[in-house]
Symmetry: C2
Subunit: 392 residues, 2 copies
């Protein structure tokens, strides 16, 4: 496929949800993402692909019998982190439609159903739990629990969806034969235009509630303070240090403060820890060390800290045979791990799953500066078309 | 005055703007504070006191000729910090009306005008600049600059006020003879029910803009990061340490993060430093040390820091003769300094100014736990009535 053909379809969605930062505000089931979901339905309609919804907010556009066996799913998600990049997610959906165009133009007819999928709330940017759509589809989360998750305005996922989620797809493992998710690479590990995923690092989110004593910032003697901002600040630095020592990744990038006023010592500082490592014991050790140091510091600050694991994703090893087949189909494309979570990682617990990565020249992701060359994106479409043909 | 009489009037405003935290959300010129301003007008009306507005949002209720010379002003402010206490501000206004009741009940007629004043935006909780109303009244800020200050929703002070502020009161120094502001004490320094202020520590607010490189929190190698949250966290701890070493107060209690997502390294962390000390050289030395350490750390983190002084209030020494007179009138009431800013501090640059403090048993302020005993509040009214009688 030419870069020009890729860019023609890509340009249809490029401006949707882009804000003045250059980044994207595409929260699941809110305005710009709803426009993208309409765009998805229109693209499917143009291609005579009936669209179904699994009752969890995930959309499927079918080439072939949606009730057939061993369908091959391909796609990704539309939602972004706030001020995120435009490629993380949508690239996989746009590429899926283009790969189907390519197969059809070549006169190919698949023996198994193919579906383009758009998963809902992959980033957890709105309701706090990443891969919510794929967790529901595979039964990894109770529908009632998912329905009760709230966004920052107190709207529940159930309210946003307009219903209690339906939960796992009936006949999941017989109806879905494989999932192939194409995604922009999120580091600088991939030197070829296209690669194949081997594994996803285990990763998780922990919420730290630091509580102290709200008081006047001007008049309260330093010795009388119980300031939870100090404990939070120490924990931010401790997380960074522990991750470096362990060769892991740890980040505290989100914070909420009450009352968040210049002249009032906070009563509450809430921070979130994102931790990832090549294996679960390493990740657990980093988190344990951070919690231990936060607790010690809280003792010195006269504050308290309560830690809640909000989501933990075990290490995912993608189907090794499938990854090897894909690499071989693509002329020995490199096989590499990732430390980013994906719906494919959730699906891999139930069905054979693979991922294709498109080169990211700067390695930047979750930022307005995220970018892939159109030529590499076109190579991604070619690779995906090859894979879909071989698998169906 | 009996505690019961005090509590009867106090109870009229006690519930206005109180939220589930037990604290108050009384932002200047927003709903609960507008209700309090109506209450002010009603109280004045009940007492046949005409109300004037100085065109800056400050309200005056007059006993005597508003165009007379050497008026004695008494009052405070209605606005609170978010989730602040109920006494900081309103106690001075309620006590002023009650002191007038007491003087009238005793058949007293003042030879000079007395005005109860409600200053607007004392906390800077909405538009970021504390003592905005008194700064405008005294010409300490340009009306055009005040008009352009924005709240968190982008509403300007000029829009909230419905006009460009009028600026300094014409004939200020001849029309206002003195200001006496009654206020809850904000530390635990006062052991008697009522005290007199000697001075206000110099204090200020500095905004620190820490910028780095937005990126994916999961995939970006620790060594490749330029994470401004680290620089912010280090600065929080540095401010605490430098203040302790210098016997000063320094606090970073407010922070804003972009994008503030769990899985995205921030591109920007904005933190505010509140610093105060017994004298200006000490305060300046603390701030300089914090800026120096923040800048050094930014160099190590690959981030940048830009520091902006948002407001600096020099040390205020209240009129020493007036403070001595007040103390003597009140049976040698203790004279003590405060590290909290007040409208009285701004007025003191132009007219003789004094403050009365009412005992705060816990020392807590800017917090839902802020409290004064009704008996002490009644003693405050008695003291204020004595002072107003002596001054007029």
């Amino acid at each position: 496929m030419s870069a020009k053909v890729f860019s023609a379809l890509w340009s249809e969605i490029e401006a949707i949800g882009r804000v003045s930062s250059g980044g994207y505000m595409r929260y699941a089931l809110e305005q710009p993402e709803l426009v993208l979901r309409d765009w998805f339905r229109n693209q499917a309609h143009r291609r005579d692909m009936p669209v179904t919804d699994d009752g969890n907010g995930n959309l499927f556009a079918w080439w072939g019998d949606q009730w057939g066996r061993d369908a091959v799913l391909t796609g990704s998600h539309f939602d972004s982190v706030p001020h995120g990049g435009g490629y993380d997610g949508p690239l996989g959906i746009v590429s899926a439609f283009l790969a189907i165009d390519q197969l059809r133009a070549a006169g190919y007819t698949p023996a198994k159903p193919i579906a383009v999928v758009a998963f809902v709330e992959e980033e957890g940017g709105r309701f706090g739990l990443p891969c919510l759509g794929s967790r529901l589809l595979t039964g990894a989360i109770e529908p009632a629990r998912a329905a009760a998750l709230t966004d920052r305005d107190g709207v529940t996922f159930g309210e946003a969806l307009g219903a209690t989620p339906a939960g796992p797809l009936p006949g999941l493992t017989s109806r879905i034969g494989a999932l192939v998710e194409l995604h922009i690479e999120q580091g600088r590990q991939l030197e070829a235009p296209v690669g194949v995923a081997s594994a996803i690092w285990p990763h998780g989110r922990w919420r730290f509630d630091f509580t102290g004593h709200g008081d006047h910032a001007g008049t309260t003697r330093m010795a009388d303070r119980r300031d939870p901002m100090l404990t939070f600040a120490y924990t931010v630095l401790a997380a960074n240090k522990e991750a470096r020592l362990a060769g892991a990744h740890a980040t505290m990038a989100r914070v909420e403060v009450e009352p968040n006023a210049t002249n009032a010592i906070p009563s509450l500082v809430r921070g979130w820890l994102d931790a990832r490592a090549a294996d679960t014991p390493t990740m657990d050790a980093v988190v344990d060390a951070v919690v231990k140091r936060a607790t010690e510091r809280a003792g010195r600050d006269g504050t308290e800290v309560v830690v809640t694991a909000e989501s933990i994703s075990e290490e995912v090893t993608f189907d090794t045979a499938l990854a090897g087949r894909l690499s071989a189909m693509l002329g020995d494309a490199p096989i590499l791990p990732t430390s980013a979570g994906h719906d494919a990682g959730v699906l891999s617990a139930k069905v054979p799953t693979a991922m294709l990565f498109v080169r990211n020249p700067t390695g930047i992701s979750h930022s307005p500066a995220e970018f892939a060359e159109p030529g590499d994106c076109a190579s991604g479409v070619d690779a995906l078309a090859t894979v879909l043909r071989e698998l169906t």
